[in-house]
Symmetry: C2
Subunit: 335 residues, 2 copies
DNA sequence: TTGTAAGCGTTATCAA
DNA sequence: TTGATAACGCTTACAA
């Protein structure tokens, strides 16, 4: 399956073998309707016989489009990013674009990698949590459309996110009003990401609406490892609480497991809630009350919007917020 | 940030503005050591000022390398594929390559998409479960290195997988010998994928070694939806069993939940085991006994091997098998 | 309907 | 140390 030069077949070798010009080969592949059937069949036969696959780089150079989008995520733990990627890939594929994934976790030259990626894609999506300088973001934005997810509101760049404040407020209010909680703690570090900040804001809002004083957040990362520490605080009595609103499910599951193991009655004595609705949330006992985000849809919508931006530059940056859904199970106190 | 032609800066506009040739600009970016410091600084300043990012397609065309690998997966549900991608991306990035992800689920022109992808990457990894014709695989293989994961042993193409038969046998033997099970059923459809087939083979082997007759498998897909159906069979008494060896955790979790909800004592009356060690496996009660695979490492090793193949074509196809680890929790009967 | 030829934006060889 | 210039493999006017 190599032509006589000993290399992989190019459009030239196919053309030669089929006895046509390279323009005709190109047409056969891109606009078969413009070629006479007999010619087309002959070319196609040669293409098949030689195993010719057009070089994407050469095509990109000629058409000035990479037919690819870049998706930059911190990592892929948990269902969030995977669902996001799934939705995005689908949306991009519908427009004939493939997606190049860049995972920043554990890399120390993120800015360089992002810039380099910018040379290989038509548009780029950045997760708010990725550690990239705003200088780099600006440089990339000067070159191609950039969409940002779940990030602090830099109003210059268009962003997508799922609703946080309202749902957090609703969840907190539920704990206060339906389950009579009076000493709730928010577990998570608001500064760590925009989402967490907004969820804490909702927590605070619900307290104020109820005439209660909101407690300070209990710092914790998104990882499961912090659960035991927080649970220990609760068990020691160092943290007085009749409910914990955790920044995500991993944290909530891990805290809850520790509490249960120590004989604490969840939810009777302490309510526990999470965020994300991971698979484990519906298999644990008690079932974890949490907030479900339409992540797949989010991903798909971001991709569709990106395709729109690629068609028509210069549309004003919009701010998209998708609604979330409260999932009441038993860990809050519901039957 | 556009040059006077109104378009994005190219190596030409940078060269012009810096008063050097394009060759020098290219050198500054690729081999700064070969350029006089004063020239280098001047060029770099212009690069920065104009926001110049080299076009990846043009570079690929010139160097005859896409600096990208294709990873074709059926979907991204569950931790398996996400971990695989994480490991692969890391391994690829270490070699300066990015990864283009193609998700086949829900697409009807997979063969076409795979061929097209082959024109944009230097090497391709195919998950065994993706619905792609062997004609296409052969066509792609003629053009670039292909690695296959968890696939039926077509010995022509190099493959990676995690160990199945031995671990399944070990797990089954554990149920028979330690927990005295005598009526085990395997839940999963062996024909669906190579993994399942091998897991069932281990199930059978353990029975034969113990002088027991292995029952036929109970067909079920990898999805959670099949759990209720299988559980119903068990509850109806239509399926006599004192233990079920499920093809994966989703299935096991869902069967177990149904059994528990119906008041069946797991593991006292029925043992339940899974495969994959998903997060939920360690949060449910009883904890799910399962088999953990080193998926991240697998991904990374595949990427490293791909880099090797890219260096040196024509190395004979090897068959790599990574060891797995039995994770004993309580759902099998262990304390 | 088909062919000619001019780009597309890099890299790399060879001279200067 | 730097510059001209020829690839690289494709698409697409424009001409025939």
């Amino acid at each position: 399956m190599v032509d006589r030069t000993g290399r992989r077949p190019t459009i030239y070798s196919v053309a030669e073998r089929a006895g046509v010009s390279i323009a005709t080969v190109s047409r056969v592949l891109r606009r078969p309707g413009e070629v006479r059937a007999s010619t087309r069949d002959r070319v196609l036969a040669v293409v098949e016989e030689m195993g010719y696959v057009p070089d994407g780089a050469a095509r990109s150079l000629a058409v000035k489009s990479h037919e690819a989008h870049g998706l930059v995520l911190p990592e892929l733990r948990g269902p969030y990013y995977a669902d996001l990627l799934t939705g995005y890939e689908q949306g991009a594929a519908e427009g004939g674009a493939s997606v190049v994934v860049l995972l920043t976790h554990g890399k120390d030259d993120v800015d360089l990698l992002v810039r380099r990626l910018a040379g290989r894609v038509d548009g780029m999506v950045l997760m708010g949590a990725v550690p990239v300088s705003s200088r780099t973001v600006d440089a990339v934005r000067a070159k191609l459309p950039v969409l940002v997810l779940a990030d602090r509101h830099q109003d210059a760049v268009e962003s997508f996110s799922t609703e946080n404040v309202g749902s957090a407020e609703q969840l907190t209010r539920h704990l206060i009003e339906e389950h009579g909680r009076r000493a709730l703690r928010f577990v998570g570090t608001p500064d760590i990401a925009d989402d967490v900040q907004e969820r804490y804001a909702g927590f605070v809002a619900a307290h104020e609406a109820a005439g209660l004083a909101p407690a300070d957040p209990v710092p914790a990362t998104f990882r499961e490892d912090d659960g035991p520490r927080v649970a220990a605080l609760l068990l020691d009595g160092e943290l007085e609480a009749d409910g914990v609103v955790c920044a995500n499910d991993e944290l909530a599951l891990s805290v809850m497991q520790r509490l249960l193991a120590a004989g604490v009655d969840v939810p009777e004595r302490i309510s526990v809630t999470g965020w994300d609705d991971v698979m484990a949330a519906r298999y644990v006992t008690p079932g974890l009350t949490t907030v479900a985000q339409p992540v797949r849809e989010l991903g798909r919508e971001v991709a569709v919007r990106m395709r729109g931006l690629l068609e028509d530059r210069h549309s004003a940056p919009e701010r998209h917020v998708l609604p979330t859904r409260l999932v009441l199970r038993q860990s809050c106190g519901c039957p």
